[in-house]
Amino acid sequence: MKKYAAAATTALLALPLAACGDNDGGDDGGSSGRTTLTVFAAASLTTTFEELEEAFEADHPDVDVKLSFGGSSDLVAQITEGAEADVLASADTQNMDQLVEAGLAAGDPAEFATNTLTIAVPPGNPGGVKDLGDLADEDLAVVVCAPEVPCGNAAQQVAKAAGVTLAPDSEEQSVTDVLGKIEAGEGDAGLVYVTDVTAAGDKVEGIAFPEAADVVNHYPIVAVKDSAHADLAQQWVDLVLGDGQAVLAAAGFGPPGA
């Protein structure tokens, strides 16, 4: 018996092999009387959308806004797989297009912000990084996003436009992962968005480089089709396109259409 049990344990424990779960927001929002508005947003929108959440909830005391942040492609994949989202704010147009193609967007997405890349280094710039060309240095620990995700795609385009061959030591799944590696001092330099450096405060330093202007990321937002709270979803979109603009600008985002 014991040996069978051991074998069964072996089989059981070995099976959950791959990825850990993505976070689904966790808590249930507590009180039952409140409507939950679920907003899926690109990781780079974390601080701004958290600020807008407070404003929105102040205006709508009966609404609990639940924010779920992640890579735009992850978010779109989750929605197409049936995740209940009311709004999607993506960090690029390609992933938004996928949502539209899947017939899951209510109306046309609207651009609400732009963002450009910058070099992030740990405080004090221990690697002595000066410009984009230094990110081709094999001796520096360079961290970028994987080419498959928007920030990685942008990094590749910027490097190409500048004629630089990046020498990454790690290709991360999201811009927050890149920033995490820089904040921890593991990486000497990383390519992230201007807004990420603003948000990180004094935990990282940003080094602007001229080639960044060649690749501008456009952020579209749309209400998800068949949302149970279509009117609230639209109000969130309106907030982001209206009063939210000041919050976005303060965080370092460029205006839409830039």
Partner: protein, 262 residues
């Protein structure tokens, strides 16, 4: 075990939840098979990225299993045999990686061995670069897998008891000889299943690796990391790699099972 006893009848109802448990585990993996693009499968699982990731996964998992054996056997023996009082709390601490989310394990490893970590600065001064290296992958895997080996082996040691050790010692064998010739051979099946568990856990390790080691093809991007990466752009490839990982895991498990289940 021991003398063959007659079967005590099982309550009939128990087959229902038992079956349910089996279905719960097997169904998702079987469902994975329904998503496979069979026509493209051979091409997908033999792509350079897949081969590189599989090779890296097998090499690092083998290395971490060896490390688990080197470090885990002594630890399990001490936990099972020593009577020191502080061992109770120590056991809980050592088993911590079992309950920690792997990402937390990765952050903890960074705090200890990262470039700005507790020991990281010293390691760097010695010219040991852990960050973004294959060594970091092996360390992450060893960290999460070690408790599996220790728990298996400690349980086996306790079940085996100390009778034969005592006899061997009374016949004049030195402690090391007792350990090598009597204690460990008696728990070989437990040791083997512990090693397989550790290997399987290493093979599936994701969270600590991606946090501590990063993700770069050929250096740190193991099969689970590649699957995580691919599922964004190429869902078919991600499913194919998942199947590959399942097959490898099943092979590994079945390597030990026949002997264990005799």
């Amino acid at each position: 075990m021991g003398a063959r006893t007659r079967h005590v009848g099982l309550p009939r109802w128990i087959h229902v939840p038992a079956l349910l448990a089996g279905v719960f585990v097997v169904l998702p993996v079987a469902a994975l098979a329904t998503r496979i693009a069979w026509a493209d499968l051979p091409g997908l699982v033999t792509s350079p990225a897949a081969r590189t990731a599989l090779g890296l996964s097998l090499r690092t998992s083998a290395a971490s299993t060896v490390l688990c054996l080197l470090l885990g056997i002594p630890l399990a023996v001490v936990l099972a045999r020593s009577e020191a009082r502080w061992l109770g709390p120590a056991r809980s601490l050592v088993l911590l990686p079992l309950v920690l989310p792997p990402v937390v394990g990765g952050i903890a490893l960074l705090a200890a061995f990262g470039r700005q970590g507790l020991l990281g600065t010293q390691l760097e001064a010695w010219g040991v670069q852990v960050a973004f290296s294959t060594i970091a992958v092996v360390m992450a895997q060893t960290f999460v897998s070690l408790p599996f080996l220790v728990v298996s082996l400690e349980g086996a040691l306790r079940t085996a008891g100390e009778r034969y050790d005592v006899v061997a010692a009374s016949l004049g064998a030195a402690p090391t000889t007792v350990l090598r010739r009597v204690t460990l051979p008696l728990v070989l099946p437990g040791l083997a299943s512990g090693a397989v568990l550790a290997f399987a856990r290493s093979l599936g390790e994701f969270g600590a690796t991606v946090t501590f080691a990063g993700s770069l093809e050929g250096t740190t991007r193991t099969l689970p990391l590649l699957i995580y990466n691919l599922r964004v752009t190429d869902a078919d490839a991600a499913v194919a790699m998942s199947l590959l990982l399942v097959v490898v895991a099943v092979v590994v498990i079945s390597l030990v099972r026949p002997r264990g289940a005799q």
